[in-house]
C-alpha cells in the first residue's frame, strides 16, 4: 500500500473550507418545518408558503391522490391536500422533495449508482421512524429527518475528493479495515463527521447533527438514544441490501445496541417486515423505481 494513505494531510480541513460552496438546504422547507412545529400556526399559513413552489405542490398532490389512500375523488387543491395528509406525511414529503437533488446522484467512489443513495436514505428514514415508535422515542419525525440525511457527507466527499474515494475502498478491502478507519487514514475524517458539519451549516437541530456524527461510531452511538436509533436503522437497511455502497458491511456493531433500545430479536424481525412494506409503498408513491 502506498505511503500516501498513511501520511497525515489536511484534506478534511480543505473539505470543511469548501462546504460553504454546497447549495444550501431550501429555506422554504426549513420555514415549512418550523410552521409545522408551531402550535400557533395553521394549514392555511403552510399552504400560503408552499403554493409558490410547483415541485412541492405537485409532490403533495401526487402523494395525496396515490393508490395508497384510495380516495374516491381526486384532490386538486393544496390546502385540502395538506389538511388530509396531516403533519407526519407533510413532513416526510417536504423532506423527501428537498433531499432529492442532493441524494439522487451517482457516487462513484462509494460504488453507488444514481438513486442508490436516495433509496438507501428513504429506507433508513422509514426504519428510524419505525424504530423510534417501537422504542417510544418521543419525536419519531426527528428520527426520520436525521436518518434521511445521515449519509449527506458522502455527497460532499464525492464532489470534493471524488477520485481519492476509490483509494479508500481499495485500502479498506486490502487491509480489511473498517470503512471509517480507511476514510480517516486517507482523509483525516469520515463521511459522518463531514455530514454533521454540513447539517450544522444548514442549521439543523443539534440532536440531529450529533446523531449523524455518531451513526458509524459504536462508542458514541451507544450513549445517545437518537444516535442508537439512527445507527440501528442504517444497520437494518444495509442488511436488506437497499442502496448499498462499497462500504456496506465494513463496520462493527456495538454488542449492546439492542439492549440500549430495549429491543429483542423478535422486535427486529417485526421491524424489518414493517420497514419493507412501508419502503415498497414509498417507492410506489415517490416513483423510486
Amino acid at each position: 500500500m502506498s505511503d500516501d494513505y498513511n501520511a497525515p494531510d489536511f484534506t478534511l480541513e480543505r473539505i470543511f473550507e469548501k462546504l460553504v460552496n454546497l447549495p444550501t438546504f431550501p429555506k422554504v422547507i426549513q420555514k415549512a418545518l418550523a410552521l409545522l412545529k408551531d402550535p400557533n400556526s395553521s394549514i392555511a399559513k403552510l399552504a400560503e408558503l408552499l403554493r409558490y413552489d410547483p415541485a412541492i405542490t405537485a409532490n403533495i398532490l401526487r402523494f395525496t391522490n396515490s393508490a395508497h389512500f384510495g380516495l374516491a375523488q381526486r384532490i386538486t387543491d393544496l390546502e385540502t391536500a395538506l389538511t388530509f395528509l396531516g403533519q407526519q406525511h407533510i413532513t416526510e414529503i417536504l423532506l423527501a422533495s428537498a433531499s432529492l437533488p442532493y441524494l439522487n446522484t451517482p457516487i462513484a467512489g462509494y460504488r453507488m449508482e444514481p438513486k442508490d443513495l436516495w433509496r438507501h436514505s428513504i429506507a433508513t428514514a422509514i426504519a428510524a421512524e419505525t424504530l423510534a415508535k417501537l422504542c417510544s422515542y418521543p419525536d419519531p419525525p426527528t428520527a426520520f429527518t436525521g436518518a434521511l440525511l445521515h449519509d449527506i457527507g458522502k455527497i460532499a466527499l464525492n464532489i470534493f475528493v471524488g477520485e481519492r474515494l476509490e483509494g479508500i475502498f481499495q485500502l479498506a478491502k486490502q487491509e480489511k479495515l473498517l470503512f471509517t478507519e480507511a476514510e480517516w487514514r486517507v482523509l483525516g475524517g469520515d463521511h459522518a463527521v463531514i455530514g454533521a458539519e454540513i447539517l450544522q451549516l444548514w442549521e439543523f437541530p443539534h440532536d440531529i447533527v450529533r446523531a449523524v456524527r455518531n451513526h458509524h461510531d459504536p462508542d458514541l452511538y451507544i450513549q445517545d438514544t437518537l444516535s442508537a436509533i439512527m445507527a440501528l436503522a442504517n444497520i437494518l437497511v444495509i442488511q436488506m441490501g437497499i442502496g448499498l455502497g462499497a462500504d456496506a458491511f465494513r463496520y462493527n456493531i456495538h454488542a449492546e445496541l439492542l439492549n440500549k433500545l430495549r429491543l429483542t430479536r423478535a422486535d427486529i424481525h417485526r421491524c424489518v417486515a414493517m420497514i419493507l412494506l412501508d419502503f415498497n409503498r414509498s417507492q410506489d408513491m415517490l416513483n423510486l423505481e
Binding site: L244, R250, T264, R270
Partner: protein, 163 residues
C-alpha cells in the same frame, strides 16, 4: 431476452428459455436459486428473515406482498410453485448466495446467519443437496440465473464467480 429483477421478499419462477432472473441488492438477505437440470424451468427467491414475525395488523399483507419474506414459510411455497411449473425433484439443483455480515455484532442482529441457518435446516430436512453456495463476507452481491443454463453467476467487489 427478458430480465426479471427480484427484490426483497419476492420470488419468481420462469419457464422462458434464456430469461434472466437476477437479484442485485443482496446484502444479508439470501438468494435461493432452483433449476431443473433437464428442463427449462428455474426460479429465484430472495429471503430476508428466518421466520414470519408476529405482526397482528399487517401479517396478511406481508404474506401476500412478500411471499419470500421468511424462509420457514416462503421456501416451501417456492418449491411448490417450482413443482407446479414442471420442476422434477430428481433433476433439481439448488444454489444459495448472500448472508453478508458485519465485521462484528450481536447474534440477534445477524439476519443473514439466521436466514442461512433456517434455509439449510429446511433443505436438510428434505434431503436436498446444495449444488453451490457463496455466503458471508462484508460485501453486497448480484446474483444471476439464466433459465435453461446450468449454474448461477455471483458478482461482488469487482469479482465474479460461477456456482
Amino acid at each position: 431476452m427478458q430480465t426479471f429483477s427480484i427484490k426483497n421478499g419476492e420470488m419468481m419462477v420462469s419457464k422462458e428459455p434464456g430469461a434472466v432472473l437476477e437479484a442485485c441488492s443482496v446484502g444479508a438477505n439470501l438468494a435461493v436459486c432452483i433449476a431443473d437440470a433437464n428442463a427449462p424451468v428455474a426460479g429465484l427467491a430472495l429471503f430476508v428473515l428466518p421466520q414470519m414475525p408476529q405482526m397482528p395488523n399487517a401479517f396478511d399483507e406481508a404474506q401476500e406482498r412478500l411471499p419470500a419474506l421468511a424462509a420457514m414459510s416462503g421456501l416451501p411455497l417456492f418449491f411448490k410453485r417450482m413443482l407446479q411449473e414442471g420442476l422434477s425433484m430428481d433433476n433439481m439443483k439448488v444454489w444459495i448466495a448472500g448472508a453478508a455480515c458485519f465485521f462484528s455484532g450481536p447474534a440477534d442482529l445477524s439476519l443473514g446467519s439466521q436466514t442461512y441457518t433456517a434455509v439449510k435446516k429446511i433443505l436438510e430436512a428434505n434431503k436436498i443437496k446444495i449444488a453451490g453456495e457463496h455466503v458471508g463476507g462484508q460485501f453486497k452481491r448480484c446474483v444471476r440465473l439464466v433459465v435453461g443454463q446450468d449454474g448461477v453467476q455471483v458478482s461482488f467487489d469487482d469479482q465474479e464467480v460461477m456456482l
